[in-house]
Amino acid sequence: MTDIKEFGEFETAWCPGCGNFSILKALKSALSACDLSPWQVLLVSGIGQAAKAPHYLKANVFNGLHGRSLPVAIGAKLANHELTVIAESGDGCMYGEGGNHFIAALRRNLDITIIVHNNMVYGLTKGQASPTSEQGFVTKAQPHGSPSAPFNPVNIAVTMGTGFVARGFAGNREHLSGLIARAIKFRGTALVDILQPCVSFNHVNTFKWYKERCYELPENFQSENRELALETSLEFGEKIPLGVIYENRKKTFEETFAVLQKGPLYTQLHEKKALQNVIDSY
C-alpha cells in the first residue's frame, strides 16, 4: 500500500458540495490500496467537469478531447501495457460523444479501467440532458423533458459480457474506493459507473434521491453469474444496487498480441536486418 499522500492535494474547479470530490478521494485511496505510485499510473480523460479530475492528483495524465478518452487510453495501453491505464470522464463524455468508443472498448477487453462520473447531466456546459438523463428530465435545452430513453451503461456492459462491471455511489466513498481498487486489479476491461450528485444542474437525482435508493450488494453476491448480473443490472428505479455486478475473466487483448509479450513498444527498436528483409520481400 502506497502512502495516499503521494497523490497530493490540489485545488479544484468544482462546485462546493459536488459528488466529484469524494470520487477523487476514493480514487486516490484505491490507487494506494493497489500499491501503485503516481508514475506507474496513467489517467486519461476527456472534457467535462469529471474530466478535470486527473489534474487533481499526481499521476501521468493525458487530458484529451471531449468524448475521446477511451481511444487515447487504448493507444497508450497498447504502446506500454506496463502502465496502469485508467480512463476517467463524465457520462456525457463516455456515453454520449464517446458512445462508439465505449461500445468498441468493451468488445476489445484491454486491461484498462473505465471510471465514469455519472451525474446524469452535462455539467460543464451548464445542464443539458445527457445519455443517462431520465426520460422527461427538464433542462433549458429540453424544456419539454429529455425525449429519449436513458442509456443504462451497467446493463449494456453486462449484456456485452464486459470483464468487470460495477456501480458505485459518490455518497458511499469507502465502498466506492473498494470497487475502484478491484476494478484496477481486475485483468481486463473494468467499468465503474459512479452515481454522482451534481448540485448545480441536477435537482432531480440529488444526493438524497440516490441515498434513498442505493443499496450495497452483499459481499457474497455471485458476480460471476451472468443471469443474475443481467437481472441486477436492470434494476434502476426504486432500488439501485451498488457493487460489483459482473465479473468475467477472459483473455485480454494484450495477451493475444505476440508483439506485446516483448515489453512496451518503446523498448523494441527494430533490427535493421528485419527491415532489410522487409525491403527485400518486394
Partner: protein, 561 residues
C-alpha cells in the same frame, strides 16, 4: 522495329484477375531490366464493371504514364469496345475469338476452349508474354512469389494456362511489330507502388503503432504494414472509426510508440479535431492522406489532388505542421521516414499527402538500404530532467523535453486545454500567450529543415511548370517533350508543400517567362498557396479533375502552344 517505350493496357471486369496478371507481367518486365510505370484505374465495386491495369514499359528512364495503347489485352467484350478505336496501326490487340474485329494486328484467343474461366487471365498473360519472348523460365519464379502461398493446384493450373497462352501467342504472332528492345536483366530491383513504399518508409522510420479505419486508397498502406508487423514489432489496430484511430495513435505516441494513421479525405475530415489535439499536446504523429476525388464520397477509387488546402488548414486553432507530397516511389519511402523524424523532432503532426494514382502505381525501384535508416527514438532521456519536470517548458526553439509516461518517476502531463509548463490546465492569459508563441516558434526550425523544391530543365525557361506531389513524373516528362520541340522548359516540383520558404524558389519563378501550375484539382489550390506565401500570381493553370492522373500528352495539349 524494336520499340523503346510501349504501353500495355489490360482491361476487364473486377474479379477477372487483371491485377494479378498485371503484377506478374510487371514484375517479369522489371526482372528483364525494363523500366515500368503502372496506372491502375478501377471502379468502386468488387465484381464486374470496367477496370484497367496499364503498364508502360521502356528501355530507358520513364517516370510517368502516357497516352496511347500499344498492346490491348481485353479480358472482356466491354474492354474491346471501349478501346478498339484508340489503337494505332502498330498496336496489337488480344481479344476473345468470339468477337468480330477488322483490326489487322489481332490475336484472337479461344479463351473458353483453352482454359477454365478462372485461368483466362493467365492465358492472356501467356499471349502477351509471347510478344516479348518471355518464356516459362522467366515467369515461373514470379508466379511462385505471387501465387505461391495459395494451393499448389492453383499454381500448377496457372502454369498450364500460361503455357497455353504462350503457345497460342507464338503460333499466332502478328509479326515483330511490338518487340521491346532488349536490355540487360536486373532482378535486383523491387517492384513497389506508392503505398507499399509509404508502409516500408514508416517501418524504416521506426513505426511501432498504427491504427486505422479502412478507406480506399489508403487501406493498402496499412495492409502492407500489417504484413510485416510481427517481424518488425509493430502493433496495428483497426479502430471503430477514424476519430478513434487518430486518438489511439496519439495515445500510443504519447506513451512512446512512433505512430501513424492512414486515411483519405472523408476520414481525414473526421480526424481534424484529433490533429488539433496533437498540435496542442505536442504529440508527434504521422498522418498519411491518400487523396481521391471529392466532395463527400465522390469517386472513391480514382485520383485527385483536391485536399491540399484542407490538409494545410484542417484542425481548429493554430499550430505548426509539416506536409510532404512525394512525387515518386522513392520519395514515398524517404519522406515517410523523414516525417517520423520531423514529427518527433518538432513534436507536431507531419503529413504524407499522396493519391490513388501514386498509391497504386507500381514501378521498378532500386532496393532501399535498410541499414542507413535509423528508427526514431521516442522522447528524451528522463535522467536529464529536473524534478518537478515540466513537459511544456518554455524554450527558445519552442521544443520542450518530451518524456514518456511510466519510463521514469517523472510525471508526464498532457492537456488539450491551454496549460502551464507542467502540463496542467490554466486560464492564465499571460501563460496563454507564452504557450502560443512557444508552439509557433517551432516553425523556425521546421522552416530551416524544409526540403527545397526540385528544379529540372533549362535555365531561364520560357515555360516553367510548377507541380507538387504525384504529378511530378508527368510534368518532368512534359519538360522533355517540350525541349524536344525546341522550347526552353523547366519544372519546379514541391515534395514538401507546407510550410513554404519563398527564398528557395522566388528567383526561379521570377526568372521564367511564363509560369504554369499543373495540379489535379479544379480550383488551383497550390497556385493560390504560392500567391498567399509570395504574392507571385500564377494565372495559367493546368488542371485535371476527372479522376485520372496527368500524362505528358494531357499537359502539352492544355498548354496549347
Amino acid at each position: 522495329m524494336k520499340r523503346e517505350d510501349i504501353n500495355i493496357l489490360i482491361g476487364g471486369a473486377a474479379g477477372q484477375g487483371l491485377v494479378t496478371i498485371g503484377q506478374l507481367l510487371c514484375r517479369t518486365l522489371i526482372n528483364s531490366g525494363y523500366e515500368v510505370v503502372v496506372t491502375q484505374s478501377y471502379m468502386s465495386r468488387i465484381r464486374g464493371g470496367h477496370n484497367t491495369f496499364t503498364i508502360r514499359a521502356a528501355t530507358g528512364k520513364i517516370i510517368s504514364p502516357r497516352l496511347g495503347i500499344d498492346i490491348l489485352v481485353a479480358l472482356n467484350e466491354e474492354t474491346f469496345h471501349l478501346y478498339r478505336h484508340k489503337l494505332s496501326k502498330d498496336s496489337v490487340m488480344i481479344i476473345d475469338d468470339s468477337l468480330e474485329y477488322e483490326f489487322p494486328n489481332t490475336i484472337a484467343v479461344p479463351f473458353k476452349s483453352l482454359s477454365a474461366k478462372l485461368y483466362e487471365n493467365t492465358v492472356a498473360l501467356g499471349v502477351v508474354a509471347s510478344l516479348f519472348g518471355i518464356n516459362e523460365k522467366s515467369i515461373l519464379p514470379v508466379m511462385k512469389k505471387f501465387l505461391g502461398k495459395k494451393k499448389a493446384k492453383y499454381l500448377n493450373d496457372n502454369k498450364t494456362a500460361f503455357q497455353k497462352g504462350l503457345d497460342h501467342g507464338n503460333k499466332n504472332h502478328p509479326g515483330n511489330i511490338i518487340d521491346l528492345a532488349p536490355v540487360s536483366p536486373d532482378s535486383q530491383k523491387m517492384m513497389m507502388n506508392g503505398n507499399e513504399a509509404i508502409a516500408v518508409g514508416a517501418l524504416a522510420g521506426g513505426l511501432k503503432f498504427c491504427s486505422f479505419y479502412p478507406m480506399t486508397p489508403a487501406t493498402s498502406i496499412v495492409l502492407n504494414i500489417i504484413k510485416h508487423a510481427d517481424e518488425m514489432g509493430c502493433v496495428v489496430e483497426q479502430a471503430e472509426d477514424e476519430i478513434s484511430a487518430i486518438n489511439m495513435a496519439i495515445g500510443a505516441s504519447y506513451a512512446g510508440a512512433p505512430s501513424m494513421v492512414a486515411t483519405s479525405g472523408g476520414g481525414y475530415a473526421l480526424m481534424t479535431e484529433g490533429i488539433s489535439l496533437a498540435g496542442m499536446t505536442e504529440t508527434p504523429i504521422v498522418i498519411a492522406v491518400a487523396m481521391r476525388p471529392g466532395p463527400a464520397t465522390g469517386l472513391p477509387t480514382r485520383t485527385e489532388q483536391g485536399d491540399l488546402d484542407f490538409v494545410i488548414h484542417g484542425g481548429h486553432g493554430e499550430f505548426p505542421r509539416v506536409i510532404y507530397a512525394p512525387g515518386s516511389i522513392e520519395e514515398c519511402y524517404e519522406l515517410t521516414q523523414k516525417a517520423f523524424h520531423i514529427a518527433e523532432k518538432y513534436q507536431t503532426p507531419a503529413f504524407i499527402l499522396t493519391d490513388q494514382y501514386l498509391a497504386d502505381s507500381y514501378r521498378g525501384v532500386t532496393p532501399f538500404a535498410g541499414d542507413s535508416a535509423d528508427p526514431i527514438i521516442a522522447g528524451n532521456r528522463p535522467e536529464h530532467e529536473n524534478t518537478p519536470y515540466d513537459r511544456y517548458e518554455i524554450t527558445e526553439n519552442g521544443i520542450s523535453p518530451r518524456l514518456l509516461p511510466g519510463h521514469s518517476k517523472h510525471l508526464v502531463v498532457a492537456d488539450s486545454d491551454e496549460h502551464t509548463g507542467d502540463g496542467h490546465i490554466t486560464e492564465d492569459l499571460q501563460v496563454r500567450i507564452q504557450m502560443v508563441d512557444k508552439r509557433l516558434r517551432k516553425l523556425t526550425g521546421i522552416t530551416n529543415d524544409l526540403l527545397a523544391p526540385e528544379y529540372y530543365g533549362d535555365d531561364n525557361p520560357d515555360i516553367l511548370l510548377l507541380c507538387w506531389g504525384s504529378s511530378k513524373g508527368a510534368v518532368f516528362e512534359t519538360v522533355r517533350l517540350l525541349q524536344k520541340k525546341g522550347i526552353k522548359a523547366a519544372t519546379l516540383h514541391f515534395s514538401q508543400v507546407w510550410p513554404l520558404k519563398p527564398d528557395l524558389f522566388m528567383k526561379t519563378l521570377v526568372n521564367a517567362k511564363e509560369v504554369f501550375c499543373v495540379e489535379g484539382n479544379a480550383t488551383s489550390q497550390f497556385a493560390k498557396l504560392i500567391t498567399r506565401e509570395t504574392a507571385f500570381v500564377i494565372n495559367k493553370n493546368i488542371l485535371r479533375y476527372d479522376g485520372l492522373p496527368f500524362t505528358p500528352e494531357y499537359i502539352v495539349e492544355k498548354l496549347d502552344l
